[in-house]
Symmetry: C2
Subunit: 110 residues, 2 copies
């Protein structure tokens, strides 16, 4: 990683695709993955669980319906969605064009 990459304007990094959400890595080490999930309205992320990792989403822009634990919640720009180890989580659907900052520790395999 060069010094330039230590400052990243995230909204300008977002990319979208019509067929599925776009995932981008912003930073990766063994202990941490920071990335973007970019969803068009109606796109989804299947509910899943990390057995030995903590994860969170921060909604940079847009609005999406999340599943987290046994709840379904609508989250919008400025909201933090936590998915600690063992807590099921996913995106039922993006309600608008949505950019999510995602961090997972430790980083999952590439």
């Amino acid at each position: 990683m060069n010094a330039q990459d230590l400052l990243q304007p995230l909204p300008s990094r977002a990319r979208f695709a019509g067929d599925k959400p776009v995932k981008l890595d912003c930073y990766r080490s063994e202990r941490l993955l920071v990335g973007l999930n970019c969803l068009e309205p109606g796109q989804t992320q299947k509910v899943h669980t990390h057995a030995a990792a903590d994860k969170f989403y921060f909604v940079v822009s847009g609005k999406a319906r999340f599943v987290v634990g046994d709840r379904t919640v609508d989250a919008q720009a400025g909201d933090l969605v936590l998915a600690p180890e063992g807590v099921a989580h996913g995106v039922e659907q993006a309600l608008e064009r949505t950019v999510l900052l995602v961090a997972i520790t430790p980083a999952p395999p590439q």
Copy 2:
């Protein structure tokens, strides 16, 4: 942590104080600390280094002058500032009332 805390609207959690930045925990486990740093204009965070942890800031709102590595950079809402293990980082000064989402892995001692 109860289920309610899995969704946190961060702008409404921000708190400010005239004498120094306010730090709030949003989530803490052994492997991850997620929190807010809330700075009034002119407030600072001393430059420091984490020897065995990766950290990042995401600027939720406002604008601040960061030191990161050997650079001084102005970061504003939507910017990601990375401070991997061993990279010096701090806030030279907040240029506006600023809310930073901060994640550190592993979590530092309380």
